[in-house]
Amino acid sequence: MASDRLATSTGTRPQDALAAYLSDLAARLHGPRGHCGAILTELRDGLEQATEDRVATGLAPDRAAAAAITQFGSPCAVADAFAGELTTAYARRTIAWFIATGPLVGIWWLLLVHPSP
């Protein structure tokens, strides 16, 4: 059984292959950290499900993981697809930050610049 698996093995443990794919993708996602983290968690779940589905059809786990990764697309293509959404998320966060801190900065500015009576 084990030797059968080895005969068709890609030589990489499935978890390692998925982790390598996700870390490659993580390096290419540029946006708010929490947002990127949520994307990676969601894609990890999808990849694991895709791998499990293939294992259930009789594929060796490493082959299943490799097929799941191929199905998901290159990290570059996936990061490109997310770029627009992440830019929007970043812009929204930046605007929210300015709205939240603007009055505070304004008050300090007035306190510092305002000539004392």
Binding site: L25, A38, I39, T41, E42, L43, R44, D45, G46, E48, Q49, A50, Q71, F72, G73, S74, A77, V78, D80, A81, F82, G84, E85, T88
Partner: protein, 132 residues
């Protein structure tokens, strides 16, 4: 005019021969398709994308990872909403249709019916004389 229709027709046939379907053909319809997949009930992202693939008999075979952003865009637009849940020790994001999404789906269906009827009617006229 006829020449134009024939040209259009040959382009459409050309596009249909090239499988999987070209992404630019799908782009305008992806949102409606995702909403339709979610209509029967909540599903997690991977299941939605798989339903898209299997429901189209493999014609809509986009790289899975590139479809997730479309789900996120629909959520930002308020047409779907998501909840995180833990299934078998894994964190999973499940999506469901909102009332606005349901309305948008109805609208998209009506538009598609109208559009596809018009295109079908035009493309069917293949018995026109070659010199018009």
């Amino acid at each position: 005019m006829l020449h134009y229709v024939c040209m259009l027709e040959s382009q459409v046939w050309e596009a249909m021969r090239v499988l999987p379907m070209r992404p630019e053909l799908l782009k305008g319809h992806l949102d409606a398709l995702l909403l339709a997949v979610l209509e029967p009930g909540p599903q997690h992202g991977y299941a939605v994308i798989e339903a898209l693939r299997s429901g189209s008999g493999g014609t809509l075979d986009l790289p899975t990872g590139t479809v997730y952003p479309a789900l996120h865009r629909l959520e930002r637009a308020g047409l779907i909403a998501s909840d995180w849940e833990t299934v078998g020790g894994r964190r999973r994001r499940a999506y469901h249709l909102t009332a606005a999404g349901q309305a948008a789906l109805g609208e998209q269906r009506a538009l598609w019916d109208q559009f596809s009827t018009a295109v079908t009617a035009l493309l069917k006229r293949r018995t026109w004389p070659a010199t018009a």
